[in-house]
Subunit: 326 residues, 2 copies
């Protein structure tokens, strides 16, 4: 197939981003808060409307979009062969028993079934897996056969290449690293160490970023919280290393903006695991940083010839200012 | 290449087993305690001698052995591209600080380099990975694209297929499941739940098997120990499921002889992890049981035509009595 325009979609708990690209670069980028009211078809409809609007903005027809790539928060289930989204931050109906019951009351989103009706050539991946693919083609994972990309943000997500191939799993949920248990009790890694946990542990409406600032100033409480969080994060990395025998961790996500504090602590803690499996492992920051969201959905549908060209010209570095929709 | 005879080797901490097979079945099987005295070439030499002796027993020449497949306890490191064995139970020199200092004082075994000198066509795999390959071809993993084989024995080991391919990792150490942390503190899964831990927790020189017997008779102490061990084992399975998004666990190893007690407890505990990732997962016992050791080293070198024939005729079921060497 001759590709003309591609649509890349990034679905997160707070916002959805749509970019339209051609062979040479990103033409337009829109974002909008993820809709919380409606029914389980609201999010697929929102994605479709946003693609329509993007096409209008640059004066192209919807049928000129030859492929749509979606990177989304997971996890997935499969129904009649189609991926169904079961992400708590997008399906409020899953969060029974939570204090601040969200407005969106659906329990799953038939994402693939709904969007397949409108887009023939559709690819959906877990966002961290798509990020790993993007890092492999354009970022810190270039040429690497064995690496794990981990995002430390409001959640914990990961994607991996093993033996030269991306790892997907039966329902494309590899690696739901945030949901492993690394300590006694029933709190998983994400509940223990993701951004909100760091903020909550400090209290007083402090942001994670502020806790890191306090750490740098020698605040004892901040020090204890950060050290404990990093220790547990490193245990999560060690678990994925024990399981996948990887060579490199690529770390990204908003919490990793404070990598000056995190990196030395992570490495130290990580090496407490089995020496013969940890000593060769390297750590890098995401090679794509703030562009990772755009490139994730895109890379999974990008034709090979385009990839070669983009590897040379790196057009994401001069992408247009994103337009905010209400 | 036209294969005539294959040698399958199983290297464990207590014994080494060598089988010679032809297209139709297993011709001879020898075993011997793993040598503890000598130098870091002692184990490779022992393997070679055992293959020589096996050839003699059935009156064939060593050069008629067209391939050697080795399944061994890990972990591995790589030196000049060759796998080097760093298994604590085979390299006593690694176990500094242990009370009963073992007699073998080497810290690594240059297994691949030494054996490549004698056997051109040599394949080495982690034993649990080789077991996963054997289960995939001949056992409970037939036709499965996503499954994890786990052995619960004097250690904890695992091997996996993801997206239809066996997972190896950079140094063939996938999955060193025993070395993940699933609880607070610095004890890994293996230290906490492997056979010796169950025995030690009960005390009085009790074997793991006896602790299970006491469990069935309602002994409270045994009940607590087994429940805690199974809980932690299940958390290890849940971690590998979160990371690999698998479909099936195949459980084997000596502790799994007490599967009547273990299986219901494991399933219950496993399902406490993220519902959308656990609810479809199935559990099975090893389809090869006591034959798994023989078939592991063998399957990794077996030509396709033989595999088809063996799948039909299942010749491992009538393998000869193993001969014990001193």
């Amino acid at each position: 197939m001759k590709h003309k325009y591609l649509a890349a979609v990034d679905i997160g708990g707070t916002k959805i981003t749509v970019s339209i690209v051609d062979k040479k670069g990103i033409l337009v980028k829109l974002y909008q808060p993820s809709k919380k009211k409606g029914n389980n078809k609201t999010i697929p409809s929102q994605v479709d409307s946003m693609i329509n609007l993007s096409c209008k903005k640059i004066g192209i027809k919807k049928k000129d979009i030859t492929a749509v790539g979606i990177a989304t928060a997971g996890p997935f289930e499969k129904k009649q062969g189609n991926l169904v989204l079961k992400a708590v931050n997008l399906c409020g109906g899953l969060s029974k028993g939570r204090k601040n019951r969200p407005k969106n009351t659906w329990k799953e989103i038939p994402l693939e079934r709904e969007l397949k009706k409108k887009y023939k050539n559709l690819q959906i991946e877990n966002d961290a897996t798509a990020s790993a693919i993007a890092e492999h083609k354009f970022g810190a994972g270039k040429g690497e056969d064995n690496f794990v990309y981990v995002t430390w943000s409001t959640g914990i997500g990961a994607g991996a290449f093993v033996d030269g191939k991306v790892v997907k799993g039966k329902n494309k949920n590899s690696l739901e690293l945030g949901h492993i248990f690394i300590a006694k009790g029933d709190q998983d890694l994400e509940v223990m160490v993701a951004g909100p946990a760091i903020a909550k542990d400090y209290g007083n409406n402090t942001t994670p970023k502020q806790v890191f600032e306090k750490y740098r100033k020698g605040n004892k409480k901040a020090k204890k919280i950060i050290q404990e969080a990093v220790k547990n994060f490193a245990r999560g990395l060690a678990a994925s290393n024990s399981i996948l025998d990887t060579k490199l961790f690529i770390l990204g996500g908003s919490v990793m903006n404070d990598h000056d504090v995190i990196m030395p602590l992570v490495k130290k803690e990580f090496c407490k695991s089995l020496a013969s499996m940890t000593k060769e492992v390297k750590f890098k920051l995401s090679g794509l940083g703030k562009h990772l969201g755009d490139l994730s959905g895109l890379t999974i549908i990008m034709p090979k010839e385009w990839i070669k060209q983009w590897q040379k010209s790196k057009p994401w570095k001069k992408s247009p200012e994103p337009i905010k929709l209400k």
